[in-house]
Symmetry: C2
Subunit: 335 residues, 2 copies
Amino acid sequence: MPEHKIFSLGDFPLECGLVLRKAQLAYQVYGELNSRKDNAILLCSWYSGDHTGYEFLIREGKCFDPTKYCVIGVNMFTNGLSSSPSTTPIPMNGPHFPATTIRDNVRAQHALVQSLGIESLALVSGYSMGAQQCFQWAVSYPDMVERIAPWCGAARTTPHTHVFIEGFTSALRADAAWNHGHYAQPPATGVRAMARVYAGWGLSQAWYREELFKQLGHPSVEDFLVYFWEHFFLLCDANNLLAQAKTWQDHNVGDSPGFDGDWRKALATISAKAMVMPGQTDLYFPPEDSQAETDCMPNAVYRPIPSIWGHLAGIGMNPEDNDFIDAAVRECLAS
Amino acid sequence: MPEHKIFSLGDFPLECGLVLRKAQLAYQVYGELNSRKDNAILLCSWYSGDHTGYEFLIREGKCFDPTKYCVIGVNMFTNGLSSSPSTTPIPMNGPHFPATTIRDNVRAQHALVQSLGIESLALVSGYSMGAQQCFQWAVSYPDMVERIAPWCGAARTTPHTHVFIEGFTSALRADAAWNHGHYAQPPATGVRAMARVYAGWGLSQAWYREELFKQLGHPSVEDFLVYFWEHFFLLCDANNLLAQAKTWQDHNVGDSPGFDGDWRKALATISAKAMVMPGQTDLYFPPEDSQAETDCMPNAVYRPIPSIWGHLAGIGMNPEDNDFIDAAVRECLAS
């Protein structure tokens, strides 16, 4: 795959009131736009992930088939590729990077999509925080979004998910080396603690009970904690992790203009066909929340992923879950 | 209630190979032993709790009725009342306090019970880590335990519970002020982080969804995090918290002599009548684990607590859950 592309947003006003100068979205395009310009799919990145995370489904014969679709994988602000604490120069560098919302991201993505000559999206899809962006797209740009296929995510951050995020971010911030974001060396102790907290939430009790970490090549829980979780988060920048967690924590689709914070009202306006796929054993985006959200949407199918892989059912690691998502997305695209 | 009593164990050898000098168990007795000496109930303390935690059920007309039973509330090592890092002089003070196991606790409690002239226990009961002690009592002293009534706990620490404990203890340890246990001032930042991690696990997603923190007088999640969770753990000593977490993390009833680590084999030997009450929505002692354990026990009833209070269904805060436990324990005592 070639390097990702950069879309320059120029001076980009944010919901928080600050202007992000020389704002950038990193993205990648797989496949080509057809002459009718009706084969575009937008994929929105997940927490601490990037556009490459979806490549397990961007293959010929899979739902995001690049020989049929023009697939645009876009990166959220704060993920280290699009404008982020780690990439932004003074005075908005590091801990001074302004708060970016899911709606800021979606508005920036809208500008990107327009710049590509696309006026209609056959599908907006994504996992986890990517799912949050799907719902927001359908609310913010109803005339432009034909379908959404969000999985393992929700349209708003519930009180429990808020507390979950508060837990793992507090673990990172407990490290004095973090120094309120003014670190010279990465606050590795805090990042490792965050990773250990995250590990309990990422996969279900049943997954651990059946010791599926052994399937992944980890002979023990401790090996899984160090070589999977700590390793992954140690590759991330701490300010990026905290900024993106804040984006997540603060999201509510109901805060879109005209809904007075009511996510049900906002979801009721979604005319796009939707395939909503929570993970059956997801501990921080539990299926009950997706069910309640789907019930508000006039054109939506509720299709839980029958898996014990918890939240990670959606991340591309378990072939059966991948096949389930692939089939459901294809069904949505065919509708 | 009068002050608690102290039972001196003398020099008490531990499973880890060290000897705890002048070991002490703190306990309280409610009610009196009858002439047949067949009305004794032992209550084992929970993580970061003490004997007073059970007083919501130690009342006339309740299951632990002190007018009918001789109720002994005993404190685990490391809880700050029995021998603990915070109470032990050099050279086994603070971080030098030796590892104590659930079996060490049960053996110490056995000595206490014998010293009180009790040769048979009508019931051993307890919540959470208290439940771990119930199962261990029934395995270690089968001729002495007529009944057990463990709730919101398990006979062994599963891989997922291990990871959960690893998460919240890592958050505490991420604070450099902890200094491997050699602190002059409490590592408050780490303890607060631990509290925030714990908050997500203690109650169910549904509990937060329905905003039941408001029932407890907290107008917001943040108020609940600070005034309930941080406040509670800030009153504890960090070394005590970590030592008791280690006791929890390492427990497996199958490590009792003769079972080669097999908890199923150990549970199969339990002749006591048992009333096993997991919380239906407990996130770190999920009911499936209790069901699997109960299935191994020849004389056990599986009776999940139908509550959205998660693990805290068992802690005495929700009147409906209290009544459920009370009724089930009374049923067990009547059998």
